[in-house]
């Protein structure tokens, strides 16, 4: 099961949607890991004939199934980092009317949204669907360093080493949640880490 029901939270927390096919001459889909299932759910021959599909495998094995959808362009990359330049280039050359579909982890969706908004797509016009890992991209509010794929709370900042509490406070500009020092007043008094949604 690749779907996860996020608990209700503060208004700052993004609410991810579910993908639906839209009208338009050009479509760009970015599917990370289990996000491939969301693409398989909405794919039709007409839609895929106009779609540039980028699959970020991250160790999953949906490549053959996605290729069998016969997208107009298909690219498999191991990670988001490896596909970043390609996504940037596709957005740079794109025209208005392009439909953007993002599915996978919050970190990937947030970062591509950031790139797409910079390229000129209003953030409200981008479709998203969360699938797979619920790990978060976290920014340490103290040193500003980003720690990717955080699954536990509290966690240790990979840059400055502070013990950080995982907040639901999200920045669209940074594509990251806020991590705040949990033992500032009483250094060393850190509760035991557990899964973010445990």
């Amino acid at each position: 099961m690749s779907k996860f029901e996020f608990p209700p939270s503060i208004t700052s927390r993004p609410i991810w949607g579910s993908l639906t096919p839209r009208q338009g001459k050009h479509h760009l889909m970015i599917a990370e890991a289990e996000g491939a299932e969301a693409v398989l759910d909405i794919a039709s021959p007409e839609l895929m004939a106009k779609t540039h599909l980028i699959y970020l495998a991250r160790g999953t094995d949906y490549g053959d199934k996605l290729r069998a959808l016969n997208p107009q362009h298909f690219r498999e990359s191991p990670t988001f980092g490896a596909a970043r330049q390609r996504i940037e280039r596709v957005l740079q050359d794109a025209a208005m009317g392009l439909q953007l579909y993002l599915t996978g982890t919050e970190g990937m969706m947030g970062q591509v949204m950031q790139m797409a908004v910079t390229a000129g797509i209003p953030h409200t016009a981008i479709q998203t669907e969360h699938r797979g890992s619920t790990a978060r991209r976290m920014q340490c509010v103290h040193c500003k360093g980003i720690t990717e794929d955080v699954e536990i709370d509290p966690f240790v900042c990979s840059h400055c080493g502070l013990n950080l509490f995982v907040r639901d406070h999200y920045s669209r500009r940074l594509a990251a949640y806020q991590g705040v020092c949990i033992d500032a007043e009483d250094p060393g008094n850190v509760p035991e880490s557990k899964g973010i949604y445990e």
């Binding site: 009208q23 338009g24 208005m96 439909q99 000129g120 797509i121 016009a125």
Partner: protein
């Protein structure tokens, strides 16, 4: 007092442009500077026409950074309720008039990488200010301007002389038509559309863009509705405890104001939402003419925009 703040001005220039359109220039009567505005803003011009006070919105077309004067262009509407005719026939150089502070319901989205303008007829006026604003900041813009004929093409010469590469003119009389689908196809990401003109043109541009997958947030439009005349009707104002008569050529908002009741407004053209009023009781049909309320709100009969909408039936009681 409702509406935006007021400024007392003197008419310092009147220039007839063609058979239908005349330009008016206003400077502050006290000699001080006018507020700056942003391209796309309008001002509400107060006209003292005998016993009637008319309040008509007109787009400001002068340079938004030029604080010495405001200019507007008024198209004469012989079938209208008389505001444009009053401007054309009664206003003289040296007259004192009252304008509202500028209000912008059609501003540029400055995040856009390119601004694609579509103007129809007198709908050109907000773009004249927006172009001046973008020229100051090195903005990327392009104008497609449809007019009835060469004789009625207000500002065509000025635009094509200054911006020969950005301005495209289409004359209906010569069967020239904007090749819209072709034009929208391939516009770079970050292009925003702005359309101002007749209702049909606005609908055509918005629908075509939607079919081509353009996001709603990237398509901007402005359409001022002039209040239409209609059968006279009676309205009860519950809060002020008054019963008022709305005349044939008067809007509901104007009748409320005439009765001495202060009602909120800004655009007076069914667009801004400021005058939205709750309906307490309704036995009859509200003739909704605004494009502020959505279809469900129109159908509910619980709200009315008194600047443009009317009523036919037995009883209408408003929460005002």
């Amino acid at each position: 007092m409702s509406g935006a703040e007021k400024i007392t001005v003197t008419v310092t220039d009147i220039v007839p442009l063609n058979e239908l359109v005349t330009r008016f220039k206003f400077e502050r009567t006290d000699g001080a500077l006018l507020p700056t505005f942003s391209g796309g803003a309008h001002t509400v011009v107060e006209m003292k026409d005998g016993d009637t006070t008319r309040l008509n919105p007109y787009s400001l077309m002068s340079d938004p950074m030029d604080q010495r004067a405001y200019t507007i262009s008024v198209r004469r509407d012989d079938a209208g309720r008389g505001g444009s005719l009053f401007m054309h026939r009664n206003v003289k150089i040296g007259d004192e008039m009252t304008l509202s502070y500028p209000v912008n319901l059609f501003s540029l989205d400055l995040r856009a990488k390119k601004h694609l303008f579509f103007a129809g007829g007198i709908g050109i006026t907000p773009f004249l200010a927006q172009i001046k604003q973008l020229e100051r900041t090195g903005g990327n813009w392009e104008l497609h301007y449809a007019c009835r004929s060469e004789a009625l093409g207000s500002y065509v010469d000025e635009l094509t002389t200054h911006y020969p590469n950005q301005v495209h003119i289409y004359y209906d009389e010569q069967d020239q038509k904007i090749d819209l689908e072709h034009l929208l196809d391939g516009q770079p990401l970050g292009t925003h559309i702005y359309v101002c003109g007749p209702k049909g043109m606005i609908g055509w541009v918005r629908n075509t863009a939607e079919q081509l997958g353009w996001p709603r947030e990237a398509v901007h439009h402005e359409e001022f509705l002039a209040p239409q005349s209609g059968k006279p009707f009676e309205v009860k104002l519950a809060v002020s405890n008054k019963v008022i008569q709305v005349g044939e050529h008067e809007s509901l908002l104007e009748a409320i104001e005439r009765a001495g009741v202060d009602a909120p407004y800004l655009c007076r053209g069914g667009a801004c939402g400021q005058c939205e009023t709750d309906v307490v009781e309704c036995d009859g049909e509200i003739l909704h003419r605004d494009h502020w309320l959505d279809e469900a709100e129109h159908a509910s009969g619980k709200k009315i925009m008194p600047c443009v909408s009317r009523f036919e039936g037995k009883t209408l009681v408003l929460d005002r």
